[in-house]
Symmetry: C2
Subunit: 336 residues, 2 copies
DNA sequence: GTGATATATGTAAGCGCTTACATCAAGTTA
DNA sequence: TAACTTGATGTAAGCGCTTACATATATCAC
């Protein structure tokens, strides 16, 4: 095995010098540096990251937690984080929590055990209070797409209230005046904020939404399907439904097909996320787009900036805004 | 900071004993063990994985390489790998190659630097010869969904030739006799095998496929769209098209919509993968399903079994078979 | 009781690095 | 020229673990 010592012997210098050319090259004489670099090259030496980490107490690695890998929702954020870190020579250690509180805790501990210099985590199950306890100057934790009370400086997230308002404004602008909404679980802060935003804008226009027309669901296709069936059964009147994500909207498409309801002529549907499926649905799903990759990227950069204590690395805003991705699932009633 | 030494002092034993209760508890007396465990608990001690790795030359970590995270294709495999490893107390260190040869090389080296005990990699760019050079008894490398010559024992993959045959048989069974095919890049072994399988079965039925009706594309939605447009321009006759993945098939849906061609009445479409979008397309895309999560799981298990030299961990077959996931995009011509 | 065997624990030498500190040569100042 | 910088390099002490080996104690056959 080729170690620092091997290189130092071949190069005829001390191990300290070799270590210096690796970590603080400016402190080594040009000629010596070249000799060492040649030896490294020749031997194909690669530093042992564990020895490095043990000695320096830093791993050049940032741990990331997501619910699971098999959803592009997390995939886009992960790609964003990795992209940001690669630029700075940092590695991503990604772990999934498998959507359980226990998984989130375990992943958190395990990433800390692995000496991650910082953490970028997306969590749903742990409470703000539990999360705040993990915060620690030595090892910054960035909360990705979540606002954690008492850790707002380390939270990167979408302005979900504005996004809800945007959804309402958009539908109003298209002439709709009577609505339904299928939300995510109330335990998710996103759901609550989106709901509040949506309702508040309606209120501004003196429109109220029937309590029965707000259904709490679970972000799944099946959940969306079930919710739509329930809404139909109630026989309440509405011309547009706002779904808190595209999967649920896709479930609604299926239910509509089965009930012979045409989108958007009989019912308008507005999704959320701009997931991959949104463009493949027929008609194309109009949806509130959130910049997931950007959010991931920002989270990565924020982690680095906190870690290195260099504010210049992360300059932008911690709050992201959603936009409307217009396709064909919302009818413009004004044009009738 | 709480270290092994802290625990040993509190428990009144040597560090060796503490280390033993952590790694080989049966070698420690019941009473001593309890005392130590209590101390660990009380102090909230967590072993430093870097020190552990340095001393033991093992990291209990398996490195995984995928093209990127933002595709469920890789996501499902990743989830599969992680699921398998978690059972055995191993961690997943996932890195993306960003679909470049350089990225694949870098990721490979970087995971080795990080002392991964084994690697599970999905690569497209590196050649069999390059990959074989990385193989090494000390650190097994499993090739996920790829057959690498000279490393067949470490390759877990779909039987793409049979899958191609299955595609042909299915379409034949539905009464089709005239075909087109849109393949993935020829540089991908999957594309070649699927093509060969497809053609060979047709040949068995004395059917040939016009060279112009086989189009090489790139696995993207846009690629599928373009390919269909090209096929239509040629004015050749065919009733069914076999696409090498669902994204391309989705692109074809779009092209059909624009050209006013009805699926499946005017043209039948068969996809590959059973991606998430397949069920959301209208009509539902009939597709050749490959068990990605299973392939990931098997890869993880194989890596563990090679690593620990315990054949019993990985028992199954290294070759997976595709199945038909039937939806509504293939017309049954017999029923006319 | 003796020697052999098994079981439990401790001692201490690393694992491959980083880095504070020491050393030394060469240049600078008055 | 003596005293002081400065820059380049070396020495060696860890970082927090694991583990081969040594030691101590208990058990057992005879």
């Amino acid at each position: 095995m080729v170690t620092l010592a091997t290189v130092s012997k071949v190069a005829g210098v001390s191990t300290a010098t070799v270590s210096r050319v690796l970590n603080q090259p400016h402190k080594v004489d040009r000629n010596t540096r070249q000799v060492v670099e040649k030896a490294i090259e020749k031997l194909g030496y690669r530093p042992n990251q564990y020895a490095r980490g043990l000695a320096s107490k830093t791993s050049k690695t940032i741990g990331v937690i997501v619910n699971r890998f098999s959803s592009t929702y997390y995939g886009f954020m992960l790609d964003g984080v990795e992209e940001a870190l690669v630029e700075y020579g940092y590695k991503t250690l990604a772990e999934s929590s498998r959507e359980t509180a226990e998984g989130e805790n375990q992943a958190l501990l395990s990433l800390i055990d692995r000496q991650c210099d910082a953490l970028v985590i997306h969590t749903n199950k742990l409470t703000d209070i539990e999360l705040a306890q993990y915060q620690n100057k030595a090892r910054p934790i960035v909360f990705m797409n979540r606002k954690v009370q008492a850790c707002e400086n380390e939270s990167i997230y979408l302005d979900n209230k504005s996004a809800g308002q945007l959804a309402a404004s958009y539908l109003l602008q298209k002439g709709h005046t009577s609505f339904a909404m299928v939300t995510g679980p109330k335990s998710y802060h996103e759901s609550v904020s989106r709901t509040n935003g949506f309702i508040s804008t309606l209120k501004e226009h003196a429109i109220t939404i029937d309590k029965d027309c707000i259904i709490e669901s679970d972000f799944t296709v099946q959940g969306g399907y079930d919710s739509l069936c329930r809404l139909l059964k109630q026989q309440k009147h509405f011309t547009a439904i706002f779904f808190h994500n595209d999967e649920m909207a896709a479930g609604a498409y299926k239910a509509c097909r089965e009930h012979g309801i045409a989108i958007p002529s009989q019912i308008s549907i507005l999704g959320f996320d701009d997931a991959v499926i949104a463009s493949h649905l027929t008609p194309g799903l109009t949806t509130i787009e959130q910049p997931l990759a950007e959010i991931g990227r920002a989270s990565g950069l924020l982690a680095l900036s906190l870690l290195k204590n260099k504010p210049e690395i992360f300059q932008g805003s911690k709050l992201f805004t959603a936009t409307v991705k217009e396709r064909d699932s919302v009818k413009d009633i004004n044009r009738e």
